[in-house]
C-alpha cells in the first residue's frame, strides 16, 4: 500500500475530530462508530441481498472504511460517505447475484401507490376531496396504537420500489435530513423529495386501509 498524506478536510468540517481519531488509530472510537452505524447499514444492505450476505457486506464496508479513511476529503459527512461505500458494494453484489432491482422500479411508471390521487367533488369538480378522509383517531383509535399497525407499516415499506424504500428508510425510519439522504444515495434533492412523497403516500394509504378494515 502506498502511504500518502491524508486528504485535508475543509476547515470547520463537523467530522474533523473523529476523522483525525480514526486516522490516528483510535480503535475505541472506531468501535463506537461501528456500533452506531451498523444497524442502519445492515437495514440498507438487506434491501438488496439476503440477511447473511448483508452482514458480510457491512463487514466489508467497515474494512473499506479502515483502508480509505485517509482519502476522505470531507465533501460530505463521514456518515453519508460510509453509506455510499456500502451502497456501491451492495448494488454491485446484487447485480452479480441477479437480484438487481428492476430498472422499472426506479422510474415513475412503477408506483404501487397508483397514479396521482383522483379527487372529484360533486359540486366543486375535479381536484377537491369528494369527502374529507376520516380522521384516524375516530376510524379505529384502538388499532392505531397497536404494534400490528407498525408491522403493517414495515410491510408497506418492504413493498415499495427500492428507490422509495431507501429514501423513506433514511428520512423517516432513521430520521436523516433531506440533504444527507440525497448525498448518501447520490440523487438530487428534488428526486429525494419526489421519492419520499410517493413513499409516504403509499404508507399512509396502507395505514388507512388497515384501520378501515377494523
Amino acid at each position: 500500500m502506498v502511504v500518502t498524506d491524508p486528504a485535508p478536510l475543509p476547515p470547520g468540517h463537523p467530522d474533523t475530530e473523529i476523522v483525525a481519531a480514526l486516522r490516528g488509530g483510535d480503535a475505541d472510537r472506531f468501535e463506537d462508530l461501528v456500533r452506531e452505524l451498523t444497524p442502519g447499514l445492515t437495514r440498507m444492505a438487506r434491501m438488496y441481498v439476503s440477511d447473511a450476505l448483508a452482514g458480510d457486506v457491512v463487514q466489508d464496508t467497515w474494512l473499506a472504511v479502515i483502508d480509505a479513511i485517509d482519502t476522505f476529503e470531507g465533501r460530505s459527512s463521514l456518515k453519508t460517505w460510509i453509506y455510499r461505500i456500502l451502497l456501491n458494494k451492495v448494488r454491485t453484489l446484487a447485480t452479480r447475484e441477479a437480484r438487481a432491482v428492476p430498472v422499472a422500479s426506479l422510474g415513475p411508471d412503477h408506483d404501487p401507490a397508483g397514479p396521482q390521487l383522483e379527487l372529484v367533488h360533486d359540486e366543486l369538480g375535479p381536484g377537491y376531496w369528494p369527502a374529507p378522509p376520516e380522521p384516524w383517531e375516530t376510524l379505529a383509535p384502538e388499532r392505531l396504537e397497536r404494534n400490528e399497525t407498525l408491522d403493517r407499516i414495515a410491510k408497506a415499506i418492504e413493498a415499495l420500489p427500492t428507490a422509495q424504500r431507501e429514501v423513506v428508510e433514511l428520512r423517516d425510519v432513521q430520521g436523516w435530513s433531506a440533504s444527507d439522504t440525497a448525498e448518501a444515495l447520490g440523487i438530487t434533492d428534488v428526486n429525494q423529495r419526489v421519492l419520499l412523497h410517493r413513499a409516504r403516500r403509499a404508507i399512509r394509504n396502507a395505514v388507512e386501509e388497515y384501520l378501515r378494515a377494523s
Binding site: 456500533r35 451498523t38 467497515w62 479502515i66 374529507p132 415499506i157 409516504r200
Partner: protein, 92 residues
C-alpha cells in the same frame, strides 16, 4: 375555522395541488408564496387538514418501526477491531 369543504378562491390552489406540496411544506422547502397558498388552502379545507395530520402521523409511526425490527446481525467486532489496529498501525 374548518368548513366541511374548501371554497375555491381566485388564485388559490386545489386539494390535489396542496397534496403535492405537503412533503415540501413539512421540509420547510416552500418559498413564501407557495407556503402562503398552501396554508391558506389547508386552513380552509377539512380534507387537507386531515390529510396533513395523517402524513405527520405516518412519519411518527414510521419512525417507530425501528422498535419492531429484529436485532440486526452483529458485526464481528473483534475481527474489525483487529483489522483496524493492524491496518492503521501500518499506515500511521
Amino acid at each position: 375555522m374548518h368548513p366541511d369543504q374548501p371554497v375555491p378562491t381566485g388564485g388559490g390552489i386545489r386539494c390535489t395541488e396542496a397534496i403535492v406540496l405537503v412533503t415540501m411544506y413539512l421540509d420547510d422547502a416552500l418559498d413564501d408564496r407557495d407556503r402562503r397558498l398552501f396554508e391558506r388552502h389547508v386552513d380552509a379545507c377539512t380534507g387537507c387538514t386531515r390529510y396533513v395530520a395523517q402524513i405527520r402521523q405516518t412519519i411518527q409511526l414510521t419512525r417507530r418501526v425501528l422498535e419492531r425490527i429484529s436485532v440486526a446481525p452483529q458485526p464481528r467486532h473483534d475481527e474489525l477491531r483487529a483489522a483496524f489496529v493492524a491496518r492503521r498501525r501500518r499506515s500511521v
